[in-house]
Amino acid sequence: MPDELETTIAEVVSSSAGGPIKILVVDDEVDLEALVLQKFRRRIRRNELAFDFAHNGKEAMARLDEDDDIAMVISDINMPVMDGLALLKQLNETKPNIRSVIVSAYGDMNNIRTAMNRGAFDFVTKPIDFTDLEITIDKTLKHLALVREALSNRDQLVALSHELDVARDMQASVLPRSFPATDRYKTHGLMIPAKEVGGDFYDFFTLGEDKLGVAIGDVSGKGIPAALFMMACRTLLRSRALEGGAPDQCLGYVNDVLSEDNENCMFVTLFYGVLDTASGVFNYCNGGHNPPRVVHGDGEVAALPTTRDVALGVLPGHGFNHDSLQLQAEDTLFLYTDGVTEAEGPGSEEFGEERLDDLLGRIDQADCAEVTSRVLDHVREFAGENPQSDDITCVALRYHGH
């Protein structure tokens, strides 16, 4: 065992919640009991070790079923009813946390090999040298302490990843499951969560006969707090949007509610726009979000002028502005979050707006699903081996005219 793994027996004892480490000795020779208790009497007295005894494999299994605290088994091979090798097999299958040491005749390599193959941790030979046995016990217990530590770390990891799963599920549950489309427009959106989930979302609202709402947002921070804030934002926006509120009114309402008691100063950048599908007028409000792009039929790309508003959640009572844009047939609106432009490639270089605009200029009437996936593919290719540190969200809306 490598030096850095050295753990004193005291540490092992302390890791077992204060009580002694329980060892089950399995041998049909009853003389062994007295011998073990005598040889280890000091450590038994110091409450470091406790011994239990069984006389064959079957009895041993029964004792193990009764007592979950037994950490280690020391077993003879040749015994009536159930021998040591059969016991090892059962232990290996049903009690993987128990470490076993086998006692075999000196030079009995066949049985020793079988025992090791069946998961024995170590072996000692007969006649038992108690100094050797003590070293073997300590070695086994040190190993067990390390395994327990690793398991507790793993449990913490599982708990943590469970939290991430919850945030991820929350985020996935609010995304649209279908993309509105008529002969006047087509839509598509995708959101790829980062490993540590952020708070990106997007939404579409069909508002009466002629109107379509489209929203994209990015909440500050990550994990469950961000996911909760995102869900609140999305629900508030949805309720006001479906009532037919204009974008600036909707954002004003969402902002006022989110700003209440917002001790942690969380905020969301939120863009919301409504397309009048009859006229092609796109009326929008931008609460601190990356300006969406309009891609004209000829490949010209322009950023939508901002409405000089602030992200939502920080400035209660802020009066939001609006702006509008006349879309022509076959214009495409592209909305995104900073997970796209801030994706890091080689040498910490960011994907950036220039690459995005260049790519959008070459979409050449690819359908909306193709546009979003092409952007994602390019970002991924650019990032290469670099881990995705933020959610990536892309939304495309193509206006076909009236």
């Binding site: 540590e196 500050s220 942690n264 100063c265 602030v310 992200a311 540190s389």
Partner: protein, 116 residues
């Protein structure tokens, strides 16, 4: 990778004004120590807090949130936060998010100290 991010802080004082000069990236992994450091400086100081962005390469939304918290904390005590010396791409983040409208930003540290 965000986990590898480094943010160093140095501080200076000019009269009652505390000047903090962070160096590196303010992102998801450094925002929390940054927040602790700022709140401590606010608690210990009595005048304005100037944050000099000269050596900041990147700030994420988590970093913006920390500045908002610091601003709120200072305002509660009738004090100010003043930011300065941002590189263009950092200034752009404040502009897009609209935070340049609610946080005072100056071109140089001296301007910021004078404004504080």
């Amino acid at each position: 990778m965000a986990n590898g991010s480094v943010l160093d802080l140095s501080t200076e004082t000019d009269g009652d004004t505390t000047v903090v000069i962070p160096t590196g990236r303010i992102d998801g992994s450094t925002a929390s120590p940054f927040q602790e450091a700022l709140l401590k400086l606010i608690e210990d100081g009595k005048g304005s807090l100037v944050v000099d962005f000269e050596n900041i390469e990147y700030i994420s939304s988590a970093g913006l949130r920390v500045l908002l918290m610091a601003a709120k904390q200072l305002q509660a005590g009738g004090r100010k936060i003043v930011l300065c010396a941002m590189r263009d791409h950092i200034a752009e983040v404040f502009k897009i998010s609209g935070f340049s409208e609610i946080l005072a930003i100056h071109p140089t540290r001296q301007d910021a100290i004078n404004a504080g």
